[in-house]
């Protein structure tokens, strides 16, 4: 039996912080922006709709501009944060695992070992098809907490990663 039990030098272990994470495709921000704009439009319509229905009530009409400015401040803040958070979406594929980091206010780096991946799928909305992007969904056996969804990958790259992972997953089992 070929069994060794060498001491592990913690310092010499592969470091996740040393990995050069790659940002997702820039064009994905267009999708985020479009989604956000749709949301803002909905909010503004809601404000005007609210005014329309409460027109008889004098106090509400008076407050309209306050509400509108509050909504627009929220929108602008949300947009800025959205943009900064977009910059934080990065990923990397190592020999034995997949790394994905995201989040501005709550930043997280999640790593899923290849040997724990159950299956991979790649999906594209029509907008993503138009921009030549794809979403990579990686499923583990765990609860929802350990599944990974990397959005906004260039289509070709998503396919490549999917191939790599699939061959690894099927190879080891």
């Amino acid at each position: 039996m070929n069994f060794t039990n060498l001491q592990i030098e913690i310092e010499s272990l592969p470091k996740v912080e040393a990995v050069n994470l790659k940002p997702i495709a820039k064009s994905y921000f267009k999708i985020i922006a479009l989604n956000k704009l749709a949301l803002y439009a909905g909010l503004i319509v809601l404000v005007f709709g609210g005014r329309y229905f409460m027109e008889k009530n004098e106090a509400v009409q008076f407050n309209l501009w306050y509400i509108l400015s509050a909504v627009s401040v929220f929108c602008i803040l949300n947009f800025v944060i959205g943009y900064l958070a977009f910059k934080k979406r990065k990923y990397a594929v190592r020999e034995h695992d997949v790394i994905y980091s995201k989040g501005l206010i709550i930043h997280s780096i999640i790593t899923v070992p290849m040997s724990r991946i159950q299956h991979v799928e790649e999906s594209r909305s029509w907008l993503a098809r138009y921009l030549d992007l794809a979403t990579l969904n990686i499923y583990t056996a765990g609860e929802a907490g350990s599944d990974l969804s990397i959005k906004g990958l260039p289509y070709l790259e998503a396919k490549e990663i999917k191939e790599i992972i699939s061959s690894k997953v099927n190879g080891t089992h």
Partner: protein, 501 residues
Amino acid sequence: MARTDFSHPIRQSSKGIIIIFAFNALKFFKKFFVLLIAFGVSILRQKSLAGVTPMMLLLGLIGVLVIILIIAILKYLNFKFHLSKDDFHLATGIINKDNTIIPKSKIQNVYLKQNFLQQIINVVSVKIETAGDKKSEIEISALDKPTALLLKKKLFTKDTVETDEIITENEALEQPNVFFRVTPKRLFLEGVSQNHFKSFLLIVTFAFGLYSESKEFIEELELEQHLEGYENLDETTILNLIITNVIIVIGVVIVSFLFSVVKTFIINFNLEVVEHQKTVEINKGLFNKVSLSLTPSRIQNLVIKTNRVKRYFNLHSLSVKQAMVNAKQQKNFKIVALEKEQLNYLIDKLLTYYNEDSEQGKPRPYFMRISIFEMLLFGLIINGLSVGFFGLVMLWINVIFIPFAVLYVYYAYKKAYYKISENFVTIGSGVIDTTTNILEIHKIQAVRLKHTIFQKRMNISSVVISTASKSVTIPYINDEEALKIYNYLLFKVESQDKDWM
């Protein structure tokens, strides 16, 4: 013991008709309960509605019951199962015939269950779970016990050429060792020493809801003068108020006490842990008897809970989180009222070579800041609500709340720790309870490192470790430490070629 031959399609016990009938009738009445009541009442009142008399309604009901009975009989007749070499076959369906084949190797769990009715007519139901979604679950609702046990055994033996003799031999060889049986006294202690806060809060909110509902009613009863008396605040009324409140609180405490004790009793009645060669079996329940087996390879997390009072009585509870078990069953994998030695023995049995002696790490004191913040928020809500409802007098609530909050923060931090050894991660937490989470490193599915934008400046991160059944968190530690743990865990998972199940 007559051996049932599983190689040909057989039906379940004929008592199954009763079970199916009762189950379907119950389902029917649950669905149409409101409608039936509304219809029935209006008919009784007006003697007839659209030409329907009470008699006709009754006849209609009987008719429905007869139809359900016929369906039950047909279902029973069309429900056949058998075992082939390495598959389990099941044919069901009255009009649409379904044929299910499950390879034995894909069966994850087999449970034996007995609800109240099944206990009366002395049958058990066998539940077969596979790894897929919830729909792939199969339940045979009425088998007599020896047959069910035999079926369970056969489902788990993968050896196909096994003859009956070998099985009997195995039986003789494998003397099931009843390792632990709970006594009513210990069960009672377990119920009493529980964390009553949850049931207390539940009952308080219930009582409060009742009070605000009946407020108008009280006013209608012309108790207004009585209530107005409170505002005068002369000494007797204050005393009265305090006494009533104390009585109410004591009442609620007693009720929540009873609630917990009775619940513990019903769920864990006759709890028994049986040790087999490889697996551990749990039997328990008063109205719903369940029999479950634990397979060490499938265990993902162990959660040990105790508290100060329980430690005094030497009571510990152990929850076992397994992979591929649905959430409802997951709750049943809990063994209560274990003694310390028994607990350690079980842990040893379920996790080989578990040792606790490794360096213990603690979260940064920042942990307390978060707890304080939580308590402040909670305090604000409590104060706001009570002042809003009862006036400034209720600020006195802080006399109780502030010490509680201080103790909360103190104990939450005191009990938080983590240990990472060669093969295991142990995480301690809890405030009133002392909770210990244990997981094997090679069962980790994913590791996550996270910090908020504020924590980043202070070099604080948390590590979230997910297994197939649960995620646990090592909260608020130094960035460097967190990364070290992160890298170490990943290295362990990826360098060993061990399966997680």
